[in-house]
Point group: C2
Chain length 140, copies 2
């Protein structure tokens, strides 16, 4: 049985994560993550960041170096098991680099855990995709 | 409270996954995965594989092309939430290519779900690491 209310909550939590990413504002990232020792983050090509201080620092570094990032999220797949949920999706990213837009794609696994304040990110794993974009992905 | 028995089970399930990987025998992979529509797999640089038939096919392809793979797994981190658990670890891989050993490292997120037959893999996400190996990793 699919719990549609919960499914909607996970989609919304995932959306909020990418809105925080686009905002390039660490305070927004603070809102969507569980700020615990047991959170993990892998950015494309980066080493694992373990624990909230190290994870937060990785976002600060990214936000300090990015001028503008826009995400079109496709192929979203959601799994729920009790108070934990994992999402896979394709991040179709447009970044401004030296005044011209650059496109890249990253496959992500995002894990959420239900807490008092709602569903929070406890794990983000993004990895580069080495194949040409599909027509759907090129639209973004 | 850490449930040490369950923690041991997850470590063992993760170990069995890599033993199946090393075996290059699809029948061993069949044993460790949940054979369901809702399983996902991302190999380094590959696109997402969704659903057991597509996930299984990816292993068949890898096993058909690999001569020998040895895994030394380091930096294992385990999280448990009810009947679901996720593991992050570094795969220090030695493969035989044209008669000489090649070393590579992959960061993995593995998600397990508890079922009647024990903890089964429902998600594997491996991504390349673009930094020099640490002394610990070089030992393998």
């Amino acid at each position: 049985m699919v719990d549609h209310k919960m499914l909607k909550e996970i989609h919304e939590a995932n959306r909020q994560f990418y809105l925080a990413f686009e905002s390039l504002d660490i305070k927004q990232m603070d809102q969507v993550w569980a700020q615990e020792d047991q959170v993990y983050c892998v950015h494309p090509g980066w080493d694992l960041r373990a624990g909230w201080p190290a994870v937060r620092d990785s976002w600060v570094q990214i936000f300090n170096h990015a001028l503008s990032m826009r995400f079109a999220i496709t192929a979203i797949k959601v799994n729920i098991e009790g108070d934990c949920a994992w999402v896979t999706c394709m991040e179709n990213i447009t970044s401004m680099m030296d005044g011209s837009p650059q496109h890249s794609r990253v496959l992500a696994t995002n894990i959420f855990r239900k807490q008092e304040g709602g569903w929070k990110v406890v794990h983000h794993h993004g990895s580069p995709v080495f194949r040409p974009a599909t027509p759907e992905e090129r639209m973004h």
